[in-house]
Symmetry: C2
Subunit: 212 residues, 2 copies
Amino acid sequence: MRKGKISPAVIRRLPRYYRHLDDLFKAGVVRISSSALAGNMGLTASQIRQDLSCFGGFGQQGYGYNVERLRGEIAEILGMDRDHTVVVLGVGNLGRALLENFPFTRYGFRLEAAFEVDQTLVGSKLGGVQIYHYDEMERFLRTSPADVGVLTVPGSAAARTAKRLAACGVRGIWNFTNVELPESELPGVQVENIHFADSLLTLSYFISEEQP
Amino acid sequence: MRKGKISPAVIRRLPRYYRHLDDLFKAGVVRISSSALAGNMGLTASQIRQDLSCFGGFGQQGYGYNVERLRGEIAEILGMDRDHTVVVLGVGNLGRALLENFPFTRYGFRLEAAFEVDQTLVGSKLGGVQIYHYDEMERFLRTSPADVGVLTVPGSAAARTAKRLAACGVRGIWNFTNVELPESELPGVQVENIHFADSLLTLSYFISEEQP
DNA sequence: TAGATTGTTAATCGATTAACAATC
DNA sequence: TAGATTGTTAATCGATTAACAATC
């Protein structure tokens, strides 16, 4: 289905396509043309057709795209059907926010466990997820390997936690710390960063620029 | 100092430059060459020189860049010296995480207030910030305008809260909801999104791809 | 059939890399 | 001075847009 190497620019747009198609699907829309979707998303019709054609011909001349089918195809391309497993490292406010509110299952992830140093939290559950002591990580992952580790530890613990996760065989790290992880020391591990500070500073730039 | 229009690609890299230069500065490094910084950051020296030259000649032939000066210049370009004001909308787990843990001041933002519908929180403080009722927003912002609103409300309240913020004259919205804000209805407001789901799905793509 | 809309090829635009003269 | 390193111009690469034949 996939035709050769997909460009990073296209990949970064896929989740957004999925989100819009899911909204359309839930709204009962059956078909959509590239130009209607483009209007929706603030892209050009040309770009949408170009992007989707990387993966195969999902549309039909004179008709457009079937919303449900296209949504399903993109879900599959994104790996949402693979039942990935995930563990959370660090149950501070942010870890807690993710455990209690983020709909991992909606995106094909199964939340297996959380790890935390604070003994008052160890042994309890949050969002239905068992919290173990941070040092139980290796033992736990030996018997129940996880695909992804969510890094919500303090910045000072980020690099070494990442290395321990890599040693435990995770294939992805979802990094919420404002620390740049040394990818050279994390072979075979995909790192996806959510850098709050970078995002806020980008906003700062734009609001400063418009009012010099 | 700024030379013409700066490309989006460059702007997105500026916070990362700042972060690395800040680390170097704190580590006591006085000067750095474009190629050393490039090695650090996983970019090319050429790109760094090209990027920085958008804003003027901060370097010196045969020497490189003075870390403290360059850090300061980038801080200024990003508007970190402008004492922006910010309010938080919605004090769930995520709002709380930001109030208690995110170092707004380090990035030049002054946290003025938070707004929440839950009466049990209204009137208390979190991270030193007063929590008002959600409906006090207009009254509060009339007397103390804010530059940025942080959107940590439930998705269902996102669009209408954004519109109210825009009507109150904020110039930026830092959007943590997984909802696409209708920018056409937010004239003059810069929106910067942190879409957790998009980020996780990107990671999902990469770990699924490498193991087909 | 006629109208609509795709998938794809070609043209344009923007971003990155390479090269090098200028100069500290 | 000699060595290092910038800022900038030119070359390459990648991504977006335009155009249109194919076809539902």
